[in-house]
Symmetry: C2
Subunit: 349 residues, 2 copies
Amino acid sequence: MRPTVHDIADKAGVSLATVDRVLNDRPGVRGVTRAKVEAAIAALGYVRDVAAANLAKSRVYPLVFILPQGDNPFMRALEAEVRRAGLHSASERTQLSVVTVPAFDAGALAKAIDGAIAEKVAGIAAVAVDAPEVSDAIGRAQAAGIPLVTLVSDLAGSGRDHFVGVDNIAAGRTAGSLMGRFLGGLPGPVAVLAGSMRVRDHRERLEGFCAAMTDMPVTRAILPVLEGQDDPARARTLISECLAAVPDLAGIYSLGAGNQGLVAALAAGHARHMCVIAHELTAHTRAALETGAIDAVLNQDAGHEVRSAIRVLRAKADGLPVIAAQERIRLDIFIKDNLPADPDGDDGN
Amino acid sequence: MRPTVHDIADKAGVSLATVDRVLNDRPGVRGVTRAKVEAAIAALGYVRDVAAANLAKSRVYPLVFILPQGDNPFMRALEAEVRRAGLHSASERTQLSVVTVPAFDAGALAKAIDGAIAEKVAGIAAVAVDAPEVSDAIGRAQAAGIPLVTLVSDLAGSGRDHFVGVDNIAAGRTAGSLMGRFLGGLPGPVAVLAGSMRVRDHRERLEGFCAAMTDMPVTRAILPVLEGQDDPARARTLISECLAAVPDLAGIYSLGAGNQGLVAALAAGHARHMCVIAHELTAHTRAALETGAIDAVLNQDAGHEVRSAIRVLRAKADGLPVIAAQERIRLDIFIKDNLPADPDGDDGN
DNA sequence: AAATTTTTGATTTACGTACATCAGAAATTC
DNA sequence: GAATTTCTGATGTACGTAAATCAAAAATTT
């Protein structure tokens, strides 16, 4: 049997109350006594039974996820994962809620953060927008002692406790590297479709992509970035125009959302042999992978991100350390042959 | 606050003891009363507080992992992950242990399974060997009411409760597909290095690889399979001989272990441009990816597999359902650009 | 209607921790 | 050495469930 607080008390020759004072960092213990207890804890290899502790505390952790509104499939996937996690969260004494704010609206995001602070939540996860108002709001959360993690898009320099998301420069590099290898000696320039260059993750992906492409043995022109504002209709127009204007186009890298429009444009275009790499596995990109319209999809698993955010926020709320290596979000590469079987599949690992 | 057993008792107008009898399926409750209680449970949306329940039960779950001996890095990684999971398992009242048996030794494996049955463990996870003795032992585990999952390599048709591992045919297809795309129009045959064709997962990977290669627009010869017995020295010899004998070799698919030998042979050989795809991310394959000696590595995450096995065994032991979609092990594709930063990194998700 | 069986209630203890209270001991200050 | 402050012990309750016991009530059989 693993040691309990009683064993510590016996071993250290003190009372249960004193052990409790040491364990929970309560005042009123002399240095000598504290050392005795800590020695006993170390000697016995005691670890607190969190389940029992939470039961005794009957503490609940209300956590808020602040996500952008709109039909960005990845954001909706995140929201779905939060709700899914909410089903199991009861047993872990976590109460999850989702607040949506207009996309790219720094003021609204800041307001939502302040609202969460006012409600005295135990933690906040937010998709950051790169703006001073947001940094300020994050600062207020920190001042209030409420842990806050940025999700998907980071805001370095703010007081956020942690970033949950992929390394977007590496993601861009991966895309460039795959694109280069898939194209091989095939000539022709490549196009890049982004949402907006004012968003940090999109900038970073482009940066990595260009770096990888220039590292390739074959130099290849990268056309000026097409900004589709993550809007399917705009994306479709831009890609269609590009296909028409550049007859020898060899590849397209879509690093933002709005892939529905990309797929539509490709389908409408003549069946040209072209290498297409996109981000985020959604119903549309999955279907396009299966038909061969898209060659590879880079994905960050929404389920993993949500669970990681929850773990980190709970750890911060309890003052526990976060094991960085354990919370690293990996970049998945999907081609049609390693697609997970279930469209809504969540491996839960 | 979420409802407790007391709330059910009040709502149903029965005593706590009766609620307990219904909840834990104990005898001595009339059908009418049982229905009343169940109605109250449904009406209140009661869910058992597993933490409290486990605390009250103070039940422990001794689980055994039976793994092959030897220096197969992936198996050693699995073992390391079991030990790592063991550190956190205490809080979940799970006691993990590892038993190693000679690789490919059906008799030893069967004996190990019987040993675990004799020890009345709560669950068994084993890397299956395709043999009748093993099937029989699995049958005995089932007869003893001990849940058993196969790990990495399945044994369909046996009484195993679940298989934890990747779809190896899909893995082979993925390798073939990537190989074909990376090679493009480049001429030349490809070689396949396997451990042994008597192992099911290796057979399946080969099958998928060949299927994907024949689906490619460019037909390409696949040389007879080289069987390295997962032994680095043998693998090195075989690959070196192959490189010498086939000057126009375009690619190598290594679908088993022994990649250390493969890498050594490649390094010793002249710096020929060749597409190399291997399985399992180990220190050697990682280093080879970084130098460019290997182009892609297909990986099944040992940590995910171990955690999935634990979840499944615990669920089975408690008579709870397993959410299949949640326990699907994904096939990871790594190229040098999306390598996880930490060699021993475990994302824990 | 009595005897028997089955079902239900009431109550208690336990799991491991958190937290509060109050009395008593030890250390410190005056 | 007394008064004060600081520390420690003893004890109890709580969290939500499991599990056991024994008595009482209800249903069933004889």
